[in-house]
């Protein structure tokens, strides 16, 4: 498929998806006929517009995104570093593996009470949760990435006379980078999940807070706006990340470009 055709195809499939969703929703709200529990799409659209005009919606989205960015800015390098070390040195792996296994088996959401206990209801406790989730996710994929560097590549580099240090920079890092990026992508999704949970349990802004506040005021339209906003935000972040990887740094894309 050529590029413009692909774009048209995407726009059409997006539009059809939205249309199907809105139609099902309006049918359900008409049949159900209890606006206080299930408002119609137009009602929700109107209150979303007014929230957008008052700037309220952007504040909530902004604070959720800010938390995500801060947590990721620290979590990605830390996770990548530890993951690479674990993949490259068997001793480091043996030492840290039990902890990684344990951390991996406990859902990050279950740790929210912990972070509230240690760091209080603060911005820092939310950063800590995102940091934890994202670094673990990136760590796992970086480790898998280092392990997937083929022996032949390393042997070839050795026979070409590369030293240990050059080998790491020239062979290992380029081979690992795509896996780190795919770890970051998964991390964005998990990070959104955790940030919402943290905001629901204790925060005064953010999309998670918007949902919780809607619940306590019995304002279902605000809850739906929060939920849809979250879904859109997560979709937007995911798509823009893939777009950036594929267009700005196509060399690192995990997508195999067959036929190029």
């Amino acid at each position: 498929m050529t590029a413009p055709k692909k774009i048209i195809y995407r726009v059409v499939s997006g539009a059809i998806s939205v249309a199907v969703f809105v139609v099902i929703w309006s049918i359900a709200s008409t049949l159900f006929n209890t606006p206080i529990l299930l408002p119609s799409p137009t009602d929700v659209f109107h209150s979303a517009m007014s929230m957008l005009y008052e700037g309220e919606l952007l504040i909530h989205i902004g604070s959720s995104v800010k938390r995500l960015i801060v947590g990721m800015a620290v979590g990605v390098p830390v996770g990548a570093l530890i993951g690479c070390a674990m993949g490259w040195f068997p001793t480091v792996n043996a030492l840290l593996d039990p902890y990684v296994r344990m951390a991996n088996s406990i859902p990050a959401i279950a740790l929210i009470p912990f972070s509230l206990l240690w760091f209080g209801v603060s911005e820092f406790s939310r950063y800590a949760l995102i940091f934890y989730t994202v670094s673990l996710c990136v760590l796992l994929s970086a480790r898998a990435g280092v392990r997937s560097v083929s022996e032949i590549q390393i042997k070839a580099a050795q026979s070409l006379g590369l030293g240990e240090k050059e080998m790491f920079v020239r062979v290992v890092i380029p081979a690992v980078f795509p896996s780190i990026l795919s770890g970051v992508r998964t991390g964005i999704g998990l990070g959104v999940m955790v940030i919402v949970a943290a905001e629901m349990v204790g925060a005064s802004d953010g999309l998670g807070y918007l949902i919780m506040e809607g619940r306590s005021h019995f304002a279902v339209d605000r809850m739906i706006i929060g939920i849809l906003g979250l879904g859109l935000l997560s979709l937007f972040l995911d798509r823009s990340f893939t777009y950036i990887v594929e267009h700005v740094m196509p060399r690192w894309s995990t997508k195999r470009r067959v036929g190029n």
Binding site: M102, S105, I106, P107, M193, G208, I211, M212, L235
Partner: protein
């Protein structure tokens, strides 16, 4: 032989590291308030205390039945959605943005509205767990059906099979590994949804216990409950793997 040697060295180092970690934890706990960081021994003690009162069994039973019922409903719905929509490549591709959107929607965001719609009882928990399982399984079923090699379908056509027969006998079996992979991933998501639902609105279950112990500052019990949750999750996934292996469902 050398790989076996390496393996035992791996476990030895791991054990040393765990012992060192526990020691550091114990020393740190010695100098900290026990409400913030209890000692490893007190966590163990709390756990045995919890097993003696019936609370723990009741909570584990409640959480497990939520996960099982929600997971079963979600898997059934997910596979049927995937199979129905996957029959047409056009429909499955046109609707894929919708599924991407729902996949990105954290289940915890739906907990408050599920409680509002279905009440604080068991129903809202089943719905939230079933929802995320449904999406995960449906997406993997759809992508499995999309990945069926054209050559297999062509062969079916040459053999004179009808469209329906090709779908049932060739496409679906080829997509099976994807479906099982989705079902396995869904176990983790089901546990996340379970904890989300129990942290925010429940009167029983392990997630509720964690939150309850936090409020009453019984941190050692809280840690025990969190670890128990992790153990249950891993056990479920191991059980799934064993069943799949035994029944050889991955093989075509």
């Amino acid at each position: 032989m050398p790989s076996e040697h390496r393996k035992s060295a791996h476990y030895l180092l791991g054990a040393i590291s765990v012992v060192a970690g526990l020691t550091i934890w114990a020393i740190a706990a010695w100098y900290t308030d026990s409400a913030l960081l209890p000692t490893p021994v007190s966590v163990l003690k709390s756990f045995s205390e919890m097993t003696q009162t019936g609370d723990l069994y009741q909570s584990v039973f409640d959480s497990a039945s939520r996960v099982i019922i929600g997971y079963l409903i979600g898997t059934l719905a997910g596979i049927s959605t995937g199979v129905i929509l996957g029959g047409s490549k056009l429909i499955s591709e046109l609707l894929s943005p919708l599924f991407d959107f729902f996949k990105g929607l954290p289940p915890i965001a739906l907990v408050p509205i599920a409680i509002m719609w279905f009440g604080i009882g068991e129903m809202s928990k089943y719905v939230v767990i079933a929802y995320i399982v449904w999406i995960v399984v449906a997406v993997s079923t759809l992508s499995g059906l999309r990945e069926v090699p054209t050559i297999r379908i062509k062969i079916g056509q040459i053999m004179g099979l009808s469209h329906f027969q090709i779908y049932m006998k060739i496409a679906l079996p080829t997509a099976m590994p994807y479906i099982f992979l989705g079902m396995r991933t869904a176990i983790g998501f089901a546990y996340v949804a379970l904890v989300s639902a129990e942290l925010i609105g429940a009167n029983t279950g392990i997630g509720y216990l964690i939150m309850d112990y936090r409020f009453s500052l019984q941190t050692s019990k809280m840690i025990a409950a969190i670890v128990l949750l992790g153990v249950l999750g891993s056990l479920t996934q191991m059980l799934f793997d064993i069943i799949i292996k035994r029944t050889r469902l991955y093989l075509k």
